[in-house]
């Protein structure tokens, strides 16, 4: 059978996809249902009998019902919209076309649920017995509904695509640092410019027209070996009539082209414009983009500038890792490992200049660096703990060290903390006992400012030096907070501050004004609430771990959270982080500024549903925080 014949046979098959349906007119209904979750994966043999048993119902805007007033079963919205609220009138969900709900099914988990029609709705009603037998017959279908909505999310968070570097687009590895010269420039001046920029090729451009390319090899073969004078024009040695590759070509195709035609440099065009260049070493590097190499390389650099140069390609590296299937948690682990390595290297370089430390001390990371959850564009949050025997004369050594490291971090790309939370600030560079006193003061009178600081400061990790100092400080923090219900309540209020954008689900809650109008801040709305809830529980139960996943594991192990509750939060966090990283990668590839803002309308249907599930879980976790730590406080 030829390919064409196969295609014809398939299209004929697809014309009658529901062999079990006696009435062909119902195919349109079957097709609609098969486009909705979880019916999309259901076999036709199972789906067809269901369609024949459907009751079509209509509800006007404003009608509401609960499990007792209407028949039990699954309701699929053909058109219109429905809101689900609990008995406290709190919005649980808002559903639109193609989405479904089972009131009694929700009832079991959350007390009474009331469905209110907010737009005239045509509903396909699957009677309870049919729905139940479907769940018995199909495991996948059953799983979608069992244990609320969590498993759907879990699967999404765990899904691992096949890593295949060679299928990446060439634009992700190309170098965009282009050196352009004029055809009338002398070879010598071009060679000097190339050395200064440390590039191995230059584009010869006139009137925005790419005339040719000149590479190290051209200089060697056509200039030096030919014994030409230094004032030879670059147009005489350049390679004209150059072949280029489109940015969307795969690395595989590009490698093939370059080896077959023996090119070492290949211009990359995007929308017909030369936007970058790819070299054979870029292609080799693309295969050796193991982050371990990068971390090792950092420790060998001799000054701030060379570190900066080494990590300048980090954004592109992240795109490669993500494209190769690296998960969000691993990416943030790697990015944190890199910032740790840079910090350590900068401290070592400072010590080379300043001589050994007068007393023992340690460098601590706070916030996302401490938790091992850094992403691109993180600013610096750090501090310095000095042993108590330090004398006033010895303090300038630490100030100089802190200046060197913080300035270096800023130079490399970890910008200064806007709130001044860094070792460079005197307040965040103290002997241990003063630190401990500060912590006690914050715990005694949790002003909003103290709570804000604590939320960064209590995620603490030793990065360099005598880690016992950081541990002693953490011990004080846990002692002060774990039984301090007033402090925990203040922290809870902070954790409840940022609400997940539940409720506007056909239109997510988005920022109302400014540059990010109609966009969703994934960090503020998704990541921070989880981090804060988990930190609160961890502090309350004296858990030392600072990484959110580790905290969740410890909380479940100590039975402070149920296994399901802890897993749900972890899945929600991983999903939002994954989305955030994916979004950042898209921005990097498009050459946009990396941000945490995303327009939910741009998400595919499945991702939108999963994001909603994640926010539902966060919302539930916030409710439980409210009950546990703020009972009676409103």
């Amino acid at each position: 059978m030829s390919a064409e014949q196969t295609a014809t046979a398939q299209s004929e098959n697809s014309r009658e996809p529901f062999p079990g349906l006696d009435t062909p007119e119902l195919v349109t209904i079957a097709e609609f249902i098969r486009q909705t979750l979880p019916f999309n994966d259901l076999a036709a043999e199972l789906l067809c009998p269901v369609v024949a048993k459907i009751l079509v119902q209509y509800h006007c805007k404003g009608e509401s019902f609960d499990a007792t007033t209407e028949a039990r079963g699954l309701r699929i919205l053909r058109s219109g919209a429905v809101e689900l609220r609990d008995s406290d009138n709190k919005l649980l969900d808002r559903l639109g076309e193609g989405e479904n709900f089972h009131i009694a099914g929700l009832n079991a988990e959350r007390g009474e649920v009331i469905a209110t029609v907010i737009e005239d709705a045509l509903i396909y009603f699957v009677p309870d017995d049919v729905y139940r037998s479907l769940r018995e017959q199909d495991r996948h279908f059953d799983r979608y509904f069992s244990g609320q909505r969590n498993r759907r999310l879990r699967r999404a968070a765990r899904y691992q695509p096949e890593p295949n570097t060679m299928m990446q687009e060439v634009r992700t590895v190309m170098s965009t640092d282009l050196l352009t010269v004029k055809p009338g420039d002398t070879v010598q001046s071009v060679a000097q410019a190339m050395s200064a920029r440390r590039v191995s090729s230059a584009f010869v451009v006139e009137n925005d027209q790419l005339l040719g390319i000149v590479t190290d090899r051209d200089l060697r073969v056509r200039f030096v070996a030919a014994g030409l004078p230094p004032d030879t024009l670059v147009s005489e040695v350049m390679t004209a009539d150059i072949v280029s590759v489109d940015g969307s070509a795969t690395l595989f195709a590009t490698t093939l082209l370059m080896t077959q035609r023996r090119f070492h440099h290949l211009p990359v065009k995007i929308n017909g414009e030369t936007r970058g260049i790819v070299t054979t070493s870029d292609l080799i590097l693309a295969k050796q983009d193991d982050p371990v190499y990068l971390v090792q390389h950092i420790s060998r650099q001799q000054d701030v500038n060379s570190i900066k140069e080494l990590v300048s390609g980090m954004a592109n590296l992240m795109v490669q890792w993500v494209n190769a299937g690296m998960r969000a948690q691993q990416v943030s682990q790697v990015l944190t490992a890199i910032s740790d390595a840079i910090t350590v290297r900068l401290i070592q370089l400072a010590e080379e200049q300043l001589g050994p430390a007068p007393v023992s001390w340690c460098w601590t990371g706070f916030g996302s660096q401490a938790r091992g959850e850094q992403l691109l564009g993180a600013d610096q949050d750090n501090g310095l703990v000095i042993a108590d025997e330090v004398t006033p004369e010895q303090l300038p050594w630490f100030a100089q060290l802190a200046d060197f490291v913080c300035d270096g971090l800023d130079e490399v790309g970890y910008v200064y903390c806007p709130g001044g939370i860094m070792a460079k600030t005197d307040e965040w560079r103290q002997p241990l006992s003063i630190w401990q006193e500060t912590v006690r003061k914050w715990a005694r009178s949790p002003t909003p400012d103290a709570v804000m600081r604590v939320s960064i400061f209590f995620d603490i990790r030793c990065i360099y030096g005598d880690c016992k100092l950081a541990e002693a400080l953490q011990e004080t923090m846990l002692d002060q907070t774990s039984r301090n219900s007033i402090f925990l309540a203040a922290l809870a209020a902070n954790a409840l501050d940022s609400k997940p954008p539940l409720g506007i689900f056909r239109r997510f809650v988005v920022d109302r004004d400014g540059e990010h109008r109609s966009e969703l801040d994934l960090k503020k709305r998704g990541v921070l609430p989880v981090t804060e809830i988990v930190r609160l529980h961890a502090l309350a139960h004296k858990i030392r771990a600072v990484n959110t996943d580790e905290r969740l594991k410890a909380l479940a192990a100590g039975k402070h959270l149920t296994i399901a509750g802890s897993r749900n939060l972890a899945d929600a966090l991983h999903f939002v982080q994954q989305l955030r990283i994916k979004h950042q990668c898209d921005q990097i590839v498009k050459g946009e500024k990396v941000s945490n803002f995303l327009n939910p309308r741009d998400l595919p249907k499945m991702a939108k549903e999963q994001l909603r599930d994640a926010f539902t879980i966060i919302d539930e976790a916030q409710s439980s925080v409210r009950q546990t730590y703020r009972a009676g406080m409103g």
Binding site: V51, A52, K53, Q57, C60, S79
Partner: protein, 222 residues
């Protein structure tokens, strides 16, 4: 309903022992019953011409509405063997002569229809046309017209629009236009069953809106 019973009287003897008698025998709903307590049979037919004197019934589709819900299990579609060739109307109905090979005899379909219709209120969108054809074959086999209670969604919509003192524009009473007013989704018609389903959705939407959470007696729909 007594008016209908009165009109049936002269035919009673004539139809003794036929399927029509069995159909008439079933008790009819009271006009004061709430619409949700009434069983409706929503029907649409395709014909070879719009003129009942020359045209023929080609297919008929129906679906039952009970307790305010459309039961897809009750959906039926029957092709009817034509006496003449389908001719011009094929372009409207996508029914060609060879489609009608599997068609059933008119009499069989009619008898089955009467079985299902027993005790129900018939619903059409523009009843005049469909009824003309149904009455024609009824008369042919039983020498009596159908004489069943009928709801016409087109007439209902027309009077609703008139009550709002709106001038009715061309096309405003077409099935899709009526459905749009109740936020019902687009449908692809020109098949008797699909049109019947679309009409049934219009019926429940219209009745739900007019009931407005209270009761809507059948009389207000007739």
């Amino acid at each position: 309903m007594w008016r209908l019973q009165l009109r049936r009287l002269p035919y009673r003897k004539r139809i003794a022992g036929t399927a029509l008698q069995a159909c008439w025998h079933a008790p009819l709903p009271s006009t004061s019953s709430d619409w949700r307590e009434v069983s409706f049979l929503v029907v649409d037919a395709e014909m070879s011409s719009l003129d009942a004197s020359t045209g023929e019934l080609l297919s008929v589709g129906w679906v039952v509405v009970q307790q305010g819900s459309i039961s897809l299990a009750s959906a039926e579609h029957h092709l009817i063997r034509a006496e003449n060739s389908v001719g011009q109307s094929a372009t409207i109905h996508n029914l060609r002569d060879h489609d009608l090979v599997d068609a059933r005899e008119r009499e069989q379909v009619l008898e089955h229809f009467l079985e299902v219709a027993a005790g129900k209120v018939l619903v059409f969108h523009n009843a005049v046309l469909d009824l003309a054809f149904l009455n024609k074959i009824c008369r042919r086999y039983f020498h009596a017209p159908l004489l069943m209670p009928v709801v016409d969604t087109l007439l209902q919509e027309e009077s609703l629009l008139r009550r709002r003192e709106q001038a009715i524009k061309t096309g405003e009473l077409r099935l899709q236009a009526c459905r749009d007013r109740y936020n019902l989704p687009r449908f692809h018609g020109h098949n008797a069953l699909l049109d019947a389903l679309a009409t049934a959705e219009l019926l429940i939407a219209m009745a739900s809106h007019r009931a407005a959470g209270k009761q809507l007696p059948l009389r207000q729909l007739l």
